[in-house]
Symmetry: C2
DNA sequence: CGTGAATCTTAACATCGCTCAGATTGGTGT
DNA sequence: ACACCAATCTGAGCGATGTTAAGATTCACG
C-alpha cells in the first residue's frame, strides 16, 4: 500500500515464504484453486517479485513438490524407527504419530512405513496430489530422503533378516511402492473412501502385508524382473556422471 | 468466419464434439495445457457455446473423465476374455491387444486385467492423469463398466474357482486395485520409468501376482477387514435410495 | 556518504473462464 | 406458405491470471 513500506523486502527468505504461502493455499483451496498472485499478496509482495525466485508458476509448484516429498520421506523414515537422518530440529510439530516405538521386526517396520505413506496422503490430500502430479522435478535438486529410497532401505533390511529371498529382492521396492502409492492416491483422489483413520491404517497394513507375502512367495522360475528406475535416483546418477543435459529426456 | 456460416450448428452433437476436441487436446498438450476456448475453436464454435452443454470447464473435464474411465473399464473387461457387455461396434481400432485369447484360468484373467490397466495408463498418460484426478464425477452419471467393478467380478470368479478363500474376499478388490493403480500412476506421472511396453507388462504381472499371492496367504486371524467403498458404487447406491442430495458429501 | 548489486514495484499485454443480451437456426402448428 | 417458438450459437465484455519489461527502492560495502 504505502509507497515507502520497507517491510516488503524479504532478503533471501522470499523464496521460502512463497513456498509456505503456496502450501497453505493448497491446503485451503486444493491443487489448482490458487494463483501466483495470491501467494505473492499473502507474503506482502507484488506478483512479479516471485519471478525473481521462480522461473514460472510451474517452477514454484515443482519446488513445493520437492519440499513436500522430502518431508514425506522424513516421515516414512521416522515411522520406520530411526530418527530422520538430516533431522533439523524436531520442528516441535505434534508428535502424535503412534508409530513411535523403534520396531526391530523388519516386516513391521515396512508396514509402519507404508502406513505413514498412506496416512500422510489422507491427512493432506491436496498437498499429496500436488506432490505426486508435479511431473519430473528440477534436474539439479535432489530430495533429501526420497520415499523410494526409504522403501529401498527397508527392503534391504528385510533380506538381511532373511524375511525376503535375494532372488525376489531386485525391484521389489517398486512392487511395494506401487501398492502403497496406489492406495494413497485412490484415497487422496477420492476414488475410494474409508471410515476414519483407523480403517485407513488397517487397509494400509493389509496392502503392505499382502504384497510382502506375495514377494516372499516369489520362488518359482520367473527369470529376471524388469529393471524399473525411479526418476529420482536416475536424476542423481545423471548428475554424478556429469550432467550435461544432452539427453535429459526425463522432464518431458 | 463468415457471418452466415450455418455449419456451426452441431445439433445435439456439440457436446460429444467438444469432448472429442478436449481429449485430443489433452493428448497433445497434457492435462492442463489447453483451454475451453481452444476446444471450442477446434469444433468451429464460439467459446460461449460450450456453456450450453457444460456448466463450466471443470464439468467438461469431469464428463471427459467419465467417458475415459468407462473406456478403461471396457478395455479391462475385454482383456479379461469376454467381450465388453455394452459393446458398441468394435470401433475398428487397432485390435493389437495380445490379450486376445479368452483365458479360462481366473488367475491369468486377473493378470490380464491388471496388465491392461497399467498399459493403458502408459499409452495415454495425460488422459489417464486427467481421468484419475478429475475428483468425484457427476453424481447422476454412472460409468458403464467401472474399473472397480471389473476387478470385483474377476475376484468373485477367483473365489468361485477356489483360488481365493472366502475370508480373504471382502475388500480384496481394493487391494489389487491399489497395487495396479499405484503402478499405473507412478508410470503416468513419470515417477518410475520402465524400458518398453514389454517391461511394463512384466512389471504389471509381477505386481498382480504378488498381491494375489499375498491375498491367498491371508488365512491367519485378521478379524474383519475395513470396509472400503468405491466412490462409484457409493454414488449408485445413493441414487437407488432416492438421491435427494441432502448429504452429498462426496463431490467436495 | 555514495555506488552497485540485489530486490521489489508499476504498468501493461495476451489469454483465460465466465456471463448476458441478442441473433440465428430448425422445426411445428395453422 | 407463414408465423412462431424453443433450441442453439454469437459478440462483446468483465475480472482475474501468468508473464514480461522498465523503472524504483533497499541494503551492504567501499
Amino acid at each position: 500500500m504505502a509507497k515507502g513500506n520497507h517491510r516488503n523486502y524479504h532478503h533471501g527468505e522470499l523464496r521460502d515464504a512463497l513456498l509456505d504461502a503456496a502450501e497453505t493455499l493448497v491446503h485451503e483451496r486444493g491443487v489448482e484453486g490458487w494463483s501466483l498472485r495470491e501467494a505473492s499478496a499473502r507474503v506482502g509482495v507484488s506478483p512479479s517479485a516471485a519471478y525473481h525466485h521462480f522461473a514460472s508458476r510451474d517452477a514454484l509448484v515443482r519446488a513445493l513438490s520437492e519440499r513436500v516429498l522430502a518431508r514425506l520421506g522424513e516421515r516414512m523414515s521416522a515411522a520406520a524407527g530411526h530418527e530422520p537422518e538430516r533431522g533439523s530440529e524436531p520442528d516441535s510439530e505434534s508428535d502424535s504419530e503412534p508409530d513411535a516405538e523403534p520396531d526391530s521386526d523388519p516386516q513391521e517396520r515396512l508396514v509402519a512405513v507404508g502406513r505413514s505413506y498412506v496416512r500422510w496422503a489422507l491427512e493432506e490430500p491436496a498437498v499429496a496430489r500436488l506432490a505426486f502430479g508435479a511431473g519430473a522435478t528440477d534436474p539439479d535438486t535432489s530430495i533429501s530422503p526420497h520415499p523410494h529410497d526409504v522403501l529401498d532401505a527397508e527392503l534391504d533390511r528385510l533380506v538381511d533378516a532373511g524375511c525376503l529371498g535375494v532372488s525376489a529382492r531386485p525391484g521389489a521396492e517398486f512392487v511395494v511402492w506401487a501398492a502403497v502409492h496406489g492406495l494413497a492416491t485412490l484415497l487422496a483422489d477420492g476414488l475410494v473412501s474409508l471410515d476414519g483413520p483407523q480403517a485407513v491404517d488397517r487397509e494400509a497394513e493389509r496392502v503392505v502385508r499382502a504384497v510382502l507375502g506375495g514377494l516372499t512367495q516369489e520362488t518359482a522360475v520367473s527369470p529376471t524382473w524388469p529393471t524399473a528406475r525411479s526418476a529420482h535416483t536416475e536424476r542423481l546418477a545423471e548428475r554424478r556422471a556429469g550432467g550435461s543435459s544432452a539427453r535429459g529426456g526425463i522432464g518431458r
